[in-house]
């Protein structure tokens, strides 16, 4: 079998032979995969314990015994819905991932592909879908009628969270740094968009929409204070990333007087994954794809994600 693997510690990638059956599970023939920030960081050497020879990739859709399947990329979560166990792993580092002909995973993580999705949409779903679902519902307790702010529209999790919140009747607002993303988000049904580079965006958001009940964030950093400002009393701010670094100078007073909840979330339990698939099928949600890239051009995908110029998922077509 062949797959895209790390060739050295400097992060060079190459399409090479590998042995597929090293994970003791069932081998899925992969038709499509999708890129996550995680893959870029692993490739750049920002993850600990990554060894040359590893096949990257956490998202995959393919065929098993003639049936269309997708893979739950979160292994060994454990029985505690509150948090993953100490042996939790994500598909693609430390075990071989999905950027290959085939992928070997334990049967319990293989699910039927939702009927309404193409194989490319299905490949775009798993990691972003379970992350968005857990953030929005298991952690953020979002319900119909809530105003939901998505901080930083454009990425896979942010857009799936947007679609999920819109599906149950939330008023979804958002921030972005690019005007062209703004237009795309409005088309999706986002009612109001602020540019996070505008120093007054939080003030405007409070004045125009009265803030938000639920905020979904993967930036952290100094800008986190604006999220505390626009959170309504009783609001939930779910954080699943920290792309702009450490959160600084937070006032405990704003947190306790407004009874805010700052909720960390990463990936999701088996229950979250199941619930996410049901939700996606019930509401016929189709993950937004920025571009379907031939697997042979995978490196272009990595560069595009680094530049942050995508709107939706970068999906790899394994037949091309």
């Amino acid at each position: 079998m062949k797959g895209w693997q790390l060739l050295d510690e400097k992060g060079e990638l190459g399409f090479r032979d590998f042995v597929v059956s090293d994970q003791g599970g069932t081998t899925v023939s992969i038709q499509a995969s999708a890129l996550n920030h995680r893959d870029v960081w692993i490739q750049k050497g920002l993850y600990p314990g990554v060894k040359p020879g590893i096949i990257l990739g956490s998202d995959g859709a393919g065929i098993l015994n003639g049936k269309d399947v997708i893979i739950n990329p979160g292994f060994s979560w454990g029985d505690n819905e509150r948090c993953q166990s100490g042996v939790f792993q994500i598909l693609g580092v430390p075990g071989h991932g999905t950027f290959a002909d085939s992928c070997n995973v334990s049967k319990e993580y293989i699910y039927p592909k939702p009927d309404h999705l193409t194989v490319f949409q299905a490949a775009a779903l798993p990691l972003a879908g379970v992350t968005a679902y857990r953030s929005l519902f298991s952690r953020g307790q979002t319900t119909s009628g809530d105003t939901v702010l998505i901080n930083g529209l454009g990425g896979g999790v942010a857009l799936l969270a947007t679609q999920m919140a819109l599906a149950i009747g939330c008023n979804v607002i958002g921030t972005t740094g690019s005007e062209w993303k703004e237009e795309k988000a409005l088309q999706l049904g986002v009612s109001k968009i602020y540019n996070y580079r505008d120093v007054d965006w939080a003030k405007k958001c409070l004045k125009e929409v009265g803030g938000a009940d639920v905020i979904i964030d993967s930036a952290g950093g100094k800008g986190f204070n604006n999220l505390l400002k626009v959170a309504r009393p009783g609001g939930r701010i779910v954080t699943y990333g920290g792309t702009t670094g450490k959160i600084t100078e937070i006032s405990p007073q704003i947190i306790f007087w407004k009874q805010l909840s700052v909720l960390g979330s990463t990936m999701g339990s088996n229950q979250d994954f199941n619930d996410m698939l049901d939700f996606i099928s019930n509401y016929k949600i189709e993950p937004i794809i920025d571009e379907i890239i031939p697997l042979s051009e995978i490196i272009r995908g990595f560069r595009k994600m680094e530049e942050g110029t995508q709107f939706g998922k970068l999906v790899f077509d394994h037949s091309a």
Copy 2:
């Protein structure tokens, strides 16, 4: 009627006549009251909109129609259990408080005194009790078997939270800055105490006890990072105060990877107050009193709380 009121904007206090019936409620004859940090801050001019002539005091126990009663100091919370309404008020600023012969409050906030408490213990209960109960249970979802860390043992809320957590079978650990408080806390049933001035206390706590499921904090500040460190995966850190200032340099990664919840909490709803009274009665919890001070020596109480040398509540005896 007479009560201790602010005489000027500089915070001088004096025992003066006032008109009791200005709040349109029922007049309780006050036998005992208790001091809260809030009173000290109001007296020092740190609260907005405080006018001379106001009677301070949020905690009170007394007599109404021959029956022993206590007062719920949180008015107009509203119907949302998540947060207080915009018209929420705390007894004693902006309305007259309890450091007086009598106090006029709406009937709905007057409750029978729990039978097992003296009038002094009852006066020590309301504000600290409802704050501790909401923090620990409504917000922190503490259950039997959890390890609970109380950051800064000594204050009213911290000690009531300690007693409540011990009552349901939690392992309670804590921090303090004074050795003599350490001994008192151990006598109470706290299993392990760290000195928060020890730069390695978090490391020791992780090694010796494996951290905590629930953390109750009113300090905030730089030290908040240690709380994130000692929080176990899935842990809840409840913050109800910010005595050491802004929280700095927080890593989003530690919050999302450990699936932590940072939960702001202040006062409590009517439901919280009711539940707290039931809890206190069921478990026969007696609030810890540092000293019963004659009301005439109220200013000594204010100074003692400013110095932070108390262990438990400072209660005022209105018959002395």
